[in-house]
Subunit: 612 residues, 2 copies
């Protein structure tokens, strides 16, 4: 059912603007910062396979291979654009160590070789196939970037072992991975190489999943890793949110490759369940710390929101795949919500530190005093980004995201060029040249110049949040996209999206945010942070939804901040008062982009504010 | 500084009305139900002192003496009005057992005799003096009711021991009680007997408290039992709410008896701290399960509200004492808030079952499914009243409250008769006869007839919640009371209080309820309970504070329920919508008195509702 193909980031040059700035920080700061922390914590050293019991080398953890693999993939994405010998050298060293330490039978896993070799393919929850998946993705990226297939050879040999052990001998103590990821990686490798065995193995893992009871840790049930039902029968998002969305991404890939309508309809049902019942306004998913998991519909508590950065990345990946299966702007809308909010909040503005959880409200006082909340501070999300975590999956997921953001902008297919995201850039698709110019998300004017494409159709997404827009050419709307014919070989189109800030209320089924409002301007969710609103407490304010915030460009965030009137209830000394005794004073407040919170002094923060 | 004296309940006969009905249930049902559960659990049997290690008799607990003492006191209050041989017989049997088992040196404590005799006066937190305090209160009540001083003799002998051990020999391993209560009991006994030694001992415990570091359990600090500062220096309510308000009650008693202005000003500061910063709208105090304690100002979370029934009783006791020190209607307002809400919710309408915690919101689904709330269901208040608890302090506190409610209605002094609470009754004060007639709290007309009181001043409280009222005679307002001269020996006064239901909002400092409203009609706090509002979820509704609820008398509750329009946000399938897409439908909802919640089918409940 292949309809569309993304234009790869390697064919897209970002030009000045919001994303170029962030991508530069990524390749100039973040990639090194993550490398340094990985080095400090022994993650690179581990590739020497020289840990022994009692040695003073840090003990390799089962996640470490994947952390480094994602960093290698990020480097590959950077190298695809320009050579950086220092980074290239490090990856080449790592590849050499992998070649040296790969077992003769193809097996490669650090912890399962040096720490507990007896556990090879024994514990479904031990992430061996997950780690392989990330090496496969790194191998594809490395091949694409450098033309070198050393890493491809390593993973190919390992995959052959996996095929033998899992599909032929069935000698592993589990059938499908406890942490999905390898499925989407195998399809990526299949797409690169055309080798059917990779697709067959991916389909094997997808087809077998949930067919029979497999090992689960004591504290959870089979839905934790989406093994409660065969995947084609799944209609709701359950369990660990990252595992879930990596699986759903692979299901979308498989549907696209195989034309499997059942898989596609499962993907659609699940995505609808997520977006309409289980997603924060920031795109955050997996509201519970317990299992880093989806919970019940509408359970979207702000201050305990887990909303892992990787989960937002994974949902973006899922939606981004769906956008190339059918023309429906809702998919790219999800991608947009994630990239400007739930993912972007995962990294500091200086590019050095990361959030694993992304809460929608912080009340510092909850952490320092005895209150009635029955929430132990250690169960609340942290309030400051860190440079590295014990399980440091998010930082290298962020680096690979920024280094390949160009992937998300355009698709082609069926004589069409589709503009999904509004990122200033120049791209090529065969002979076609595209130039996209915009100050988005600070401004809604999108100017597109397309050359050598006469006769093609040009599609431009109308974001779901956009209530008014104009287009410089005659158009029809199809699947939520403006559709115009490219009538000349040097064709200009200007689309103006009304970016007036808007209030949002949540469904009445969301207990946590009922009676409150959030503010978005374009795709950007805003928040109150006390560092920008000294002397004010977010919960003491009430917004009037008739007051439209005004936007002001702010260099710190690379986009607009908002100024809006709020009403502060005056204290009269009493705890309870009748409305006739209510006295308010008007006060101006500043709302900053949610992605930019926690970059100043430690602060209270809230996305949802009371209304009057 | 004695100004006023309460007219004792023994001189007040309740006539038909809200409280008579509840008092009858108390003396016909509750007193027996508590007795039966105490019997089942071995609390009476324990008075035989025949527990031994390995015996099949339940092991006496350190609280048990006080549980039974409060039940004995309750029986005494009932017997003060009419003899009930069955109840009298049980108490007499208990007194005989106490006489038999009291140690020669006066000591009487079941657990510390049969379970761990070596612990006598060793552990400050072991409640020995607390138990004695309740025996003292029972002894005073028993003497008042029956004229018999057997129990007085027992406690007198024990008190002599306490004076010797604590004041003279100082041989106990602590100086002041870990759980206050004996202080107020001693002053009560002093008032009955005139024996200065009781007052001196009370003052000793008050004066020594907080002067030096005493034993504290590991998990708390000295403010847990109000030992962080000498009592005269305390200005804020801290720690275990019941202990705190028993202490503050004793401080008020002591201030009244001794004219100690420092104590009085501490009482005022603390009471203001409670009422203006730490009290639920229901009167509930002690918002945290952890330590059953006060926390920081404005920490008034609805669904985790601990708000122990005994704490409401204790705050009522404190405020009720303050009302007789100075004429200020705010004190009796607190009493009123407690008796119609925080205390009354502690017992089921049928009189058989009790709440220990009194939450202001229940969401049943939080208890049965995995959500993001980070609240373990076992840390949430229970949703159904129980007949008995392991620590069953609240049930006999309820029985003694109902049996002596007549105490709270009138005070006399300075040629004045003061009407604090509006309870239909007939009372005598010397030759004066008072008749109070009202359908309160369903109706605001208060009719008072007073005979043989020409020349006295009559004061009638204007409740703090009341914004409009009329009075049939010329009056001035003094200390929040209508003040009229009694101009004839058969004097009638009618006061009409406007009982129109009203919305309340909380101080903007209360994060939990900011943006919400509660409804009260007169002194009664109302709540939404889903059993009366099928198919509706409280958080999906929005109230319009311009809609005034209409009242309808409801026999089940013995007072009005309210009907009001609410607005239900229609679901449109999306999680987030702009206000222009908001569609509402009007729906009628029923609000019931908060005290009556959890008397039907298990339900969601909320005092605070969203507003539009």
């Amino acid at each position: 059912m292949e309809k569309f193909r993304p234009v790869p980031f390697s064919d897209v040059e970002l030009t000045d603007g919001f994303w170029k700035k962030r991508a530069l920080i990524n390749e100039e700061v973040t990639i090194y910062s993550v490398r340094d922390r990985f080095r400090d914590t022994g993650r690179f050293e581990a590739f020497k396979f020289n840990w022994t019991e009692g040695s003073d080398i840090p003990k390799p953890h089962i996640f470490w291979d994947s952390d480094v693999a994602k960093w290698m993939e990020s480097v590959a994405f950077i190298l695809a654009k320009k050579d950086v010998p220092e980074l290239r050298g490090t990856v080449e060293e790592l590849i050499s160590l992998m070649e040296k330490n790969q077992k003769d039978d193809g097996y490669f896993n650090i912890a399962h070789t040096v720490v507990f070799p007896e556990m090879r393919f024994k514990n479904r929850d031990n992430h061996e196939l997950y780690c392989l998946g990330h090496f496969i993705e790194a191998a594809v990226a490395w091949k694409n970037a450098t033309g070198c297939d050393r890493l491809i050879k390593i993973v190919d040999k390992y995959i052959d072992l996996v095929i033998r052990v899992f599909c032929e001998e069935k000698s592993a103590e589990f059938t499908t991975p406890g942490h999905e990821e390898i499925e989407l990686a195998l399809i990526k490798l299949f797409r690169l190489t055309g080798e059917e065995k990779y697709l067959r193995l991916a389909m094997f893992f997808l087809d077998e999943r949930g067919k029979k009871q497999e090992y689960m840790p004591d504290w959870c049930n089979a839905s934790y890793n989406q093994s409660h039902l065969p995947v084609r029968q799944q209609t709701e998002a359950f369990g660990h949110a990252v595992r879930a969305c990596y699986l759903y991404s692979a299901m979308a890939d498989a549907a696209k490759e195989t034309g499997d309508e059942e898989l596609l309809s499962a993907c659609k049902a699940i995505l609808s369940d997520i977006v309409n019942k289980k997603m924060y306004i920031t795109g955050g998913i997996g509201s519970s710390r317990h299992g880093e998991a989806f919970t019940v519909p509408y359970d979207l508590q702000s201050d305990t929101a887990y909303a892992e950065t990787c989960a937002s990345i994974a949902l973006m990946m899922f939606a981004d795949r769906m956008k190339d299966i059918e023309l429906n702007s809702e998919y790219a809308d999800i991608v947009e919500r994630e990239i400007y909010n739930g993912i972007l909040s995962g990294v500091s503005l200086d590019g050095k530190a990361f959030f694993y959880e992304n809460p929608l409200e912080i009340n510092l006082s909850d952490r320092t005093r005895h209150t009635s909340m029955s929430r132990e501070p250690e169960n609340l999300p942290i309030t400051r980004r860190q440079e590295v975590f014990g399980c440091s999956c998010c930082p290298p997921n962020i680096t690979r995201f920024f280094a390949s953001i160009g992937d998300k902008i355009f698709s082609t297919g069926e004589n069409s060029l589709i503009v999904h995201q509004f990122v200033p850039c120049e791209a090529k698709v065969g002979d076609i040249r595209i130039k996209l110019d915009t100050a988005y998300p600070s401004d809604g004017r999108i100017r597109i110049n397309i050359r050598n494409a006469k006769g093609e159709m040009l599609f431009v997404r109308i974001p779901g949040w956009c209530r008014e827009y104009t287009c410089s050419e005659a158009f029809v709307v199809s699947g939520g996209y403006i559709k115009v014919s490219v009538t000349s070989d040097d064709f200009d189109l200007t689309v103006d999206l009304d970016m007036t800030p808007s209030y949002y209320i949540s469904s009445a089924s969301v207990r946590a945010t009922a009676g409150k409002a959030a503010v978005m301007a374009g795709p950007v969710v805003y928040c109150f942070e006390s560092v920008y609103n000294k002397e004010l407490r977010h919960y003491s304010l009430r917004l009037d939804m008739k007051n439209i915030p005004t936007a002001e460009y702010d260099e710190r965030f690379g986009c607009n901040i908002l100024k809006v009137k709020a009403y502060k209830i005056k204290e009269n000394g009493s705890l309870y008062l009748t409305p006739d005794k209510l006295q308010e004073e008007e006060t101006g407040i500043t709302l900053i982009p949610y992605f930019g919170f926690a970059n100043g002094e430690e602060s209270d923060m809230a996305v949802w504010l009371n209304i009057r």
